[in-house]
């Protein structure tokens, strides 16, 4: 494995990978506006140098295409290659967002059809595709809740959130001006109607619930819980991050959910891209539709068009219409599978998780033993006597050629390991993963030092995160600048 310097440490003065024809005439900016540092620090490298640099970096990445990526709550399924080709069709990729609607009818048809499919899967009435990610969908969803209550003159200040929620749920609620009341979960791992009833009063704007929750458990009392919230005038928000467990099995609209976000990069297979871009469409019941962001897609006599009239809208959450390229991929995925295929996705996602869980029980502690859906959560309790912790198990899995589960989450489980195999893994791959986990459990008993020192086979060992945070080095600096700080400080 080669070391690979930073791109800024490569190259030679005067080299470039992209020759731009010289302008016939140059125009000068006013002197006080001219950049005078000659882009100091920018690299000067050739095309092959650039290609090799990034291909070498790519080889240092573990990815869902190269191996099983059981990262719970992130749904790291196969991302179909054909969708990449489809999103790159020039008719989509080169379409400017400000052309008149009659020159964008193909794109608008994609938007309309995706809205329809998401309505069908959610059992809700209206969909907005604008949010760029799940967390932005959450923010929008809670702004809709706020606008709904305001319109009715209700002063509601609190949001109920179960202890097992994603960290973004409280952060999004806070941005909407709400205070968060955390709800305890039952010994079984789910929400109890009694706890909701106790916490519920006229100051509660909404309950924010993830279903299946972050323990991978279906909220069996969701209908009663939703009814309790509705009785006191509150709304039910569902974090749809785990929709891979529900397609064709249960629709949020039928559960009593009023507003939810989808994560297209999870359930609908768009590549996670090392952190994005994703898309977090929001689906709502009819009474919330008027508050959705502008522009809204409407069907007119001349075809589809965008309606910019603000009306009661909470406003935009991003520029233009959302991450359109991601929307194309998600629709391609849905059309490829069809309704029956989406239902099969859920069936096999749950089958795969149940299979892994059944075989790891005994080797690892299962803190909540209710039947789980598309993911399961273990802990490191059985390994504690040997001094091996969840972090060590995760690092050792890297040596065995797997990515690690989501660890130390949900917070309600000490030393949690959240495993989500997804439906696209074959039985043989799951068997290999189970074998690796069992081997680590055995090593923890027989040679714990080896597990604690893992990983042993990766390009770098465990990295010093404390040093990174205490003395942040967040960028490369040109050599002349390196010793000192910049003048602004």
């Amino acid at each position: 494995m080669h070391d690979e310097p930073l791109i800024f440490e490569r190259g030679s003065r005067g080299r470039t990978g992209w020759d731009v024809p010289a302008s016939t005439e140059t125009v000068a900016l006013p002197a006080e506006l001219r950049r005078d540092d000659d882009l100091a620090g920018f690299p000067e490298v050739g095309e092959l140098e650039v290609l090799r640099h990034f291909l070498r970096l790519s080889q240092w990445n573990y990815s869902a295409a190269t191996g099983m990526y059981p990262l719970g709550s992130c749904t790291m399924k196969y991302n179909p290659i054909v969708n990449e080709a489809i999103a790159r069709l020039p008719g989509f990729a080169r379409l400017h967002p400000l052309v008149p609607d009659h020159l964008a009818q193909g794109a608008l048809a994609v938007v309309a059809e995706l809205e329809d499919w998401l309505k069908a899967v959610s059992g809700l009435d209206a969909v907005c595709l604008q949010p760029a990610a799940g967390a932005q969908g959450e923010l929008l969803g809670m702004l809709l809740v706020r606008a709904y209550h305001r319109d009715r003159g209700a002063k509601r200040t609190r949001v109920l959130i179960p202890a097992s929620a994603h960290g973004t749920n409280p952060a999004s609620s806070a941005l909407c001006g709400y205070t968060v009341t955390e709800l305890p979960i039952s010994e079984r791992g789910t929400l109890e109607p009694e706890r909701v009833a106790e916490a519920m009063d006229d100051s509660v704007a909404a309950l924010m619930v993830t279903n299946p929750n972050t323990l991978g458990l279906f909220e069996t009392e969701i209908e009663r819980v939703a009814a309790l919230v509705h009785e006191r005038g509150g709304l039910v928000y569902m974090d749809g991050a785990n929709m891979n467990a529900l397609m064709g099995v249960a629709r949020p609209g039928d559960m009593g959910v009023d507003v939810m976000q989808f994560n297209l990069h999870k359930t609908f297979s768009t590549p996670h891209g090392g952190g994005g871009p994703g898309a977090g469409p929001v689906a709502v019941r009819g009474m919330l539709a008027d508050y959705l962001p502008v522009p809204r897609l409407v069907r007119g006599p001349d075809g589809l068009r965008w309606d910019e009239q603000p009306g009661k809208s909470v406003g935009r959450v991003r520029s233009f219409y959302g991450n359109f390229g991601i929307l194309v991929r998600a629709l391609a995925y849905m059309l490829r599978l069809g309704g029956p295929g989406l239902r099969d996705v859920t069936r096999y996602a749950v089958l795969n998780a149940a299979y892994v869980r059944a075989q790891l029980v005994g080797d690892f502690h299962l803190p909540y033993d209710a039947p789980s859906m598309h993911e399961c959560v273990f802990s490191d309790r059985l390994q504690q006597s040997s001094g091996v912790q969840t972090m060590d198990i995760a690092k050792r899995l890297l040596d065995y050629g797997f990515y690690a589960p989501t660890i130390y989450f949900p917070l309600v489980v000490k030393g949690a390991m959240m495993i989500e195999p997804t439906e696209t893994e074959s039985r043989e791959t799951l068997d290999e993963f189970v074998a690796a986990m069992r081997a680590i459990a055995r090593e923890a008993r027989e040679d714990p030092a080896r597990v604690r020192a893992a990983p042993h086979t990766t390009r770098v060992g465990r990295l010093d995160e404390t040093r990174a945070a205490r003395r942040p080095v967040l960028r490369w600096r040109p050599p002349a600048q390196a010793p000192g700080r910049t003048k602004e400080n």
Binding site: R34, M76, P277, S319, V473
Partner: protein, 454 residues
């Protein structure tokens, strides 16, 4: 059997036996039966891959292929083939947030390089790993200012800031009772009126937000704005929708700006009907712990080897929950990779040459239109986008799009009623001389007859 699912009936039988379940349906017993019965999807069956491609090829073909001279927040630029080749590497595309740095050094080093590029380009000290888009980055910058200067009330948005960006700021702060948003006018140059800032900015000023270039393609006088705002203790946020301009113009960091944000789509990403792009976000060292979003830092492993990790996580929501700096929990990873590869390919000389070419092409086009009787609306310095007055602009624009396959920029009346007779035109290296000549010809035909001349 469905697409992408590897399970054979033998697999299913063996797996159910290991689980001890009679059927797959039995695995869903905890879901109330009533919900399951109502959930049947009334959706068509799936398409084979060739059918699927044909279906989307037909949809894409319905979008027409007009020659487009529009920017307005998304800019068409040529992209080296290497950029998309790297983006299509599954090792980058199908990884996620680098929670396990030992097997994510590719993503992490690329982000570190991205942060460096953004810092160098903006002239700021430090940048994050990117935000959703330029508009939400602007809103996050305002929220950051509120954390840095709690108790200050007024956010001044330049009215010459892209309208989508102003709308997104308004959306993000609508629930915050301690913030009011007000607007600043532009002057005859099309620049945010620094004199108005000096007159209006009082001690409750939280920040001033101005475009660089702004929505008219004109460079605001950031130094003058900064002088006025800093006198009352507020922050200056610059917003750049066309970052190519920063290759030739004095960067925000040299204009006393506190937070520089923008849209990064110009660097290696197609316009793709408005997204995905990415938000650029840079600030000063002294403010870094208030900065939202993912950040990568350099460190070492136990053997002293250089490596990269996500850092300063104590700002983030999985630790801080409702007290986090932001609810954002990802970046636009693959888009930031596109920017990094693109800027590496062009490098210092390529980027300077490309910016000079855009600048020259737009100025040349503006001069030809002026000679044809279509005067520019604003006198301020511009980059590759400018505003011309065209009588009956919306109708002309509509007619050219319908009959001539030419989108003559953006009719500004849709955003500014007082500019209903103006078009916002953008010229980049993607436009050929013959396309530009045609644009000048067809617009000249729409010029006022008395002033039109050959």
């Amino acid at each position: 059997m469905s697409a992408y699912l590897p399970h054979t009936s033998d697999d299913v039988a063996a797996m159910l036996a290991a689980i001890g379940a009679p059927s797959i349906e039995a695995l869903f017993a905890q879901v109330p039966a009533g919900l399951r019965e109502r959930a049947r999807l009334d959706l068509p069956t799936g398409l084979a891959e060739p059918e699927l491609r044909r279906r989307f090829e037909a949809l894409a073909a319905r979008n027409g292929d007009a020659v487009v001279f529009a920017g307005g927040g998304m800019y068409p630029h040529d992209v080296p083939a290497v950029v998309d080749h790297v983006l299509q590497r599954s090792e980058f595309a199908t990884a996620y947030t680098p929670y396990q740095p030992e097997v994510s050094q590719g993503t992490l080093q690329a982000i570190f390089e991205f942060q460096t590029f953004v810092a160098l380009l903006t002239g700021m000290d430090v940048a994050n790993a990117s935000m959703y888009d330029g508009a939400s980055a602007t809103a996050e910058a305002v929220l950051m200012a509120r954390r840095v200067l709690p108790g200050r009330r007024t956010v001044w948005l330049s009215r010459a800031l892209h309208p989508h960006y102003r709308e997104v700021v308004a959306t993000y702060v609508q629930a915050l009772d301690d913030i009011v948003v007000r607007e600043l006018p532009w002057n005859a140059e099309g620049r945010t009126d620094a004199a108005a800032v000096a007159a209006k900015a009082a001690d409750d000023t939280l920040c001033v937000v101005a475009g660089y270039p702004n929505v008219f393609g004109v460079f605001d006088d950031l130094s003058a704005l900064a002088g006025a705002v800093h006198r009352v203790g507020g922050l200056v946020i610059s917003v750049t929708t066309e970052p190519l301009a920063l290759a030739v113009v004095r960067p925000p960091g040299a204009c006393d700006v506190d937070i520089a944000v923008g849209e990064g789509q110009s660097f290696g990403l197609p316009v793709s009907y408005g997204g995905p792009g990415l938000g650029l976000f840079a600030t000063r060292d002294r403010l870094v712990r208030s900065m939202p979003g993912r950040i990568v830092g350099e460190t070492v492993d136990a053997r002293g080897r250089r490596g990269y990790v996500l850092t300063l996580a104590t700002r983030e929501q999985h630790i801080r929950r409702e007290r986090a700096t932001s609810n954002i929990c990802t970046n636009q990873g693959l888009c930031s990779l596109a920017v990094t590869v693109y800027l590496s390919m062009l490098g210092r000389r390529g980027l300077q040459a490309l910016a000079a070419r855009n600048h020259a092409a737009a100025h040349d086009t503006a001069a030809r239109l002026a000679r044809a009787g279509l005067a520019g609306v604003f006198a301020g310095p511009f980059f590759n986008e400018f505003v011309v007055r065209v009588p009956d602009a919306p109708a002309v624009w509509e007619r050219l799009a319908r009959n001539d396959g030419l989108v003559a920029g953006v009719p500004l009346g849709r955003w500014y009623p007082e500019l209903s007779d103006a078009l916002l035109l953008c010229v980049t290296e993607t436009h050929t001389e013959s396309q530009i000549a045609r644009l000048v010809d067809v617009l000249a035909a729409a010029a006022p007859p008395a002033r039109a001349r050959a």
